[in-house]
């Protein structure tokens, strides 16, 4: 495994990186420490690298988007946890002023939260990964919005991401023309209604753990002790009430009356509200993408297209990938509790019909040119041939009174009807239902049929299946098909010894042992020792193999996160190697006149650098996609 390069090679267009996609109305952030030396960068990278994969990626992102000082601040906050600005400066050996400047940018971009204890003046800063994740996904988000909505919507989202947040009044002030203002407001309303933008409120700048603690302590103080109620029961009650208060606090100011206003019958956003990008909404889109890809791999290309529509119908109203309660440590303590909580959440959505859709809704939303005819064998009827160039199909004839056959001209026969592109609304609902049945009856629970014509997506079960199938594919692509067979056998058997596995997979004992060793080395499977003597002698022990999903997925997540960090730092490092040339290109007198002012060799190097950067960004996006499956889903 150690010698195999990632087999995730370039195929999809490696674009999607929001720094390459600047809009002219927003100026890029200035680097806080532009003349940092390469040695210093390498040192910073090494420190962050050894800390944790998260630290590696977050510091690189902060360095690329905000500056090296912001990167050091992020690294410090990850190392030491919650700190006041003075302490950050002391621990990171930076000046207070530069730390404060960096913190302003980081808070603006939702990368850092702040908190003040009641009655104290000290402000504590905590890392907020949400903003950094938005920076990580920035390019993909913009491409996704462009594909779903259009260029203008993509530009709005890009502006919001780049600034961290945008006040409606300020944003509308950028446009002098009334028509443009009207159009932009329309787009803003649309993006808000679809969940891509959210209202930013003061509580969003505060760490949820601290918010919860304050609410809990306040509720506890307001709940008197009673001789009739035990302390355990009292705490449980307090927890319950504090949960309700927490939900209310985050829902506050988000009602339609607080956000929208009607102006001459036109729905508009209140000018005083501040908008930020809603990462949770994009995560839902990523979840849908993973489901559709699995459907394409398990059922087929046409069914996947239908399934894509099913996902889009319930995507916005489905449960968030990370509920607020799950972000507070200890609030939902065990894995079983978490599962029960999420299941309850999902069934509530189904009961309220928020994640339920009908066949007819699917039919209405099917894309144009989706031709489902002859895709299900039970619904194939004898029709004239419609495959392009099918010259063998006999032409239709009518019998004349004199007994001779007269061929029908094109335009009168049925062939013409079938050769013309099928209008989208002519899709047979029964045929669509057949495809939905395929999804509902598949080994992977893509859909759950509620009653005739009504379906829902079992998100929890399906996310589990998505992870499992992708993990299988990772094993297959990195360890080989034979290891894949052994791995799936271990999974199926739950706990088995090497001889049993060898017998089941029909492979030689020696080969299986070596494959098991490789799989253990990659942490794909785990070893369990069954001692057979009191002294637990290794020679007498039996060793069994098992696959523990949670441990393996967590490990995979860390590996992939680290890979993202590696690609990001690779980009930084090769750019640093050509720092002089790149700075030269940034000079005002050179910009736009590169071909005249640069040597041929310099132009060639620039071209190579660009290709290398694009290729690395493509690689990062592929690794990032796998990370999303294990880190976000």
């Amino acid at each position: 495994m150690g010698s195999d390069p990632m087999l995730i090679a370039a195929r999809d267009p490696p674009l999607q990186y929001f720094r390459l996609y600047f809009s002219p109305c927003v100026s890029p952030k200035t680097q806080l420490l532009p003349h940092i030396c390469p040695q210093m960068v390498e040192l910073l990278v090494d420190v962050a690298k050894t800390q944790s994969p998260e630290s590696y990626v977050y510091t690189r992102l902060a360095a690329q988007h905000i500056g090296e000082i912001a990167s050091v601040v992020i690294s410090g906050l990850i190392s030491f946890g919650r700190l006041p600005a003075r302490e950050i400066a002391r621990k990171c050996k930076l000046s207070s002023r530069s730390v404060q400047t960096a913190l302003v940018s980081l808070i603006q971009l939702n990368c850092v939260s702040y908190w003040t204890e009641k009655g104290l003046s000290t402000v504590y800063y905590t890392l907020n990964p949400t903003g950094l994740k938005v920076l990580l996904h920035g390019g993909d988000v913009i491409v996704h919005i462009r594909d779903v909505y259009g260029d203008e919507e993509a530009e709005i989202v890009q502006n919001v991401i780049e600034n961290g947040n945008v006040t409606v009044r300020n944003y509308m002030g950028l446009f002098a023309d009334e028509n443009t203002q009207f159009r932009r407001m329309e787009l803003l309303v649309r993006l808000y209604a679809d969940g891509w933008l959210r209202r930013l409120q003061p509580v969003d700048f505060q760490p949820i753990e601290d918010v919860w603690n304050r609410l809990f302590l306040e509720t506890l103080a307001n709940t008197p002790r009673s001789a009739a109620v035990s302390e355990v029961k009292r705490i449980a009650e307090v927890k319950l009430r504090a949960k309700v208060r927490l939900s209310e606090l985050y829902a506050l100011g988000n009602s339609n009356a607080d956000v929208f206003t009607m102006d001459d019958g036109v729905k508009k956003l209140q000018p005083n509200i501040t908008l930020a990008f809603n990462l949770g909404r994009y995560e839902k889109a990523l979840r849908s993408r993973s489901y559709v890809e699995l459907a394409r791999s398990r059922v087929g290309i046409l069914t996947a297209q239908i399934y894509k529509v099913c996902c889009s119908l319930v995507e916005q109203k489905s449960a968030d990938l990370r509920h607020k309660f799950l972000q507070v440590s200890g609030l939902v303590a065990t894995q079983d509790e978490t599962r029960a909580f999420l299941e309850a959440l999902e069934s509530t959505l189904v009961e309220n019909k928020l994640t339920v859709f009908t066949v007819h809704e699917v039919v209405r939303r099917l894309p144009d040119h989706l031709d489902l005819s002859n895709s299900i064998t039970s619904r194939i009827f004898t029709k004239p041939g419609r495959v392009g160039g099918d010259s063998g199909t006999p032409s239709k004839k009518i019998k004349l009174e004199n007994g001779s056959a007269f061929p029908l001209e094109n335009g009168y026969g049925h062939e013409d009807i079938f050769l013309a592109p099928t209008p989208p609304k002519q899709v047979d609902a029964a045929l669509v239902e057949e495809h939905l049945q395929l999804l509902a009856n598949d080994a992977v629970p893509f859909l759950h049929k509620l009653r005739d014509g009504q379906y829902t997506i079992p998100f929890l079960q399906l996310s589990k299946a998505v992870k499992a199938y992708n993990y299988d594919a990772i094993v297959k692509t990195t360890m080989g098909v034979e290891a894949h067979r052994v791995f799936r056998c271990v999974k199926d058997q739950k706990l088995a010894d090497d001889r049993t596995i060898a017998k089941l997979v029909l492979q030689k004992d020696g080969d299986v042992k070596s494959l098991l060793f490789d799989l253990i080395a990659g942490n794909f499977i785990q070893l369990q020792e069954i001692p057979r003597s009191a002294d637990r002698a290794a020679t007498k022990s039996v060793y069994l193999f098992r696959h523990e999903e949670a441990a393996s997925y967590q490990y995979m997540k860390e590996l992939l996160m680290f890979n993202i960090g590696q690609v990001l730092s690779n980009i930084d490092l090769f750019k640093l190697d050509h720092k002089i040339l790149l700075e030269k290109c940034e000079r005002d007198d050179v910009k736009g006149h590169e071909e005249e002012l640069l040597l041929e060799s310099e132009l060639k190097t620039l071209m190579e650098l660009q290709t290398r950067e694009v290729s690395n960004i493509g690689r990062m996006n592929r690794v990032k996609w796998l990370y999303v499956l294990y880190g976000e889903l």
């Binding site: 495994m1 150690g2 195999d4 390069p5 990632m6 995730i8 090679a9 370039a10 195929r11 690298k49 699995l294 791999s297 398990r298 087929g300 297209q305 040119h369 031709d371 895709s375 299900i376 064998t377 039970s378 194939i380 004898t382 029709k383 004239p384 041939g385 495959v387 392009g388 013309a420 592109p421 099928t422 049945q437 395929l438 009856n441 080994a443 992708n470 594919a473 297959k476 894949h484 067979r485 052994v486 799936r488 199926d492 089941l504 997979v505 029909l506 492979q507 030689k508 590996l559 992939l560 890979n563 590696q566 690609v567 690779n570 090769f574 290398r612 290729s615 690689r619 592929r622 996609w625």
Partner: protein
Amino acid sequence: MDAAAILEQADKLYERMSEAPESKLFNQDELLALVEGSTLSDMMKLTQDLLNRKLMNLSMVGEEVRFQIVSVRESEKLQTMSKEEEMIYQHISASGREGIWLRILKSKVNLHDISMNRCLKSLENQRFIKLIRLVKYPTRKIYMLYNYLPSEEVTGGPWYTDSELDTEFIENIMTVVWRYISQKTYPAAFSDAQSNKNPLQCVHPANHNGYATLSLITDFISERKISLVELSENDIRSVCMALIYDDKIEEVKGAVDTYKATWQGVLDSGFGRQYKNENLLDENQKILTAKIEAERQFSIFDYSSVINEDVPPLDVVYMDAWVRD
């Protein structure tokens, strides 16, 4: 009863006993019933005669003595053996098609190693016994009668040739079984484009019940004489399990021993890609596939269609770098 009469009566008894299968164990009463009018003492003389001529074996079943005939050929063999050889031979013979491990044989006959080895060598040279290798424990010396075929437990079943797992044979059978199941699952994936099948996808409905069952696959394999060794349903089941582990097939929900191929398995094997052939598509399908291709993003399930780019050594990222770096 004189010696000639005993001989005659003993032959008669042997003949009557031979009418039953050779493995049958007779008790005393059954023997008495075979020779009319004989007394217990007569019967003792007859059995003693047969025992002397090595035409009969004695064995104990519980508290009771049982009698079993030995074939004439076998008895001739035994007569040529020494006492030790005979003892060893009897034990090996009793082990049947399973064979007997040398260590157990030694503990049973309790002979010195030298005479033990000499006897075994002599029996082997006369082709009365043979040494076989157990698939489970290849280092163990197992002895068995020369004319016996080792049991499946010993040989490992049809998947073993000369005590070695025949991976090539297994792979071939797996390919045939997979192809059979796939053709029953995806009617259009393996044939040329047909006008009544959608080149993008053509599958059976959810309630289809014509998928490949275990008995259908077994019959197909035996009818087509694909294997020289006879394969039972259990053997085919183990092939199907290996195919399930390969994610090439899966069990049909709600049906026993019924299998269908996975679409990913079909794609991995290079089939089911008619949608990439523009000549087979009509205008609508061309537009749709172009749209799908344009929106296509990275998926690890598409790995078989990915071309590995030439990565500069410094840009190579290893998946396990976090633990190895």
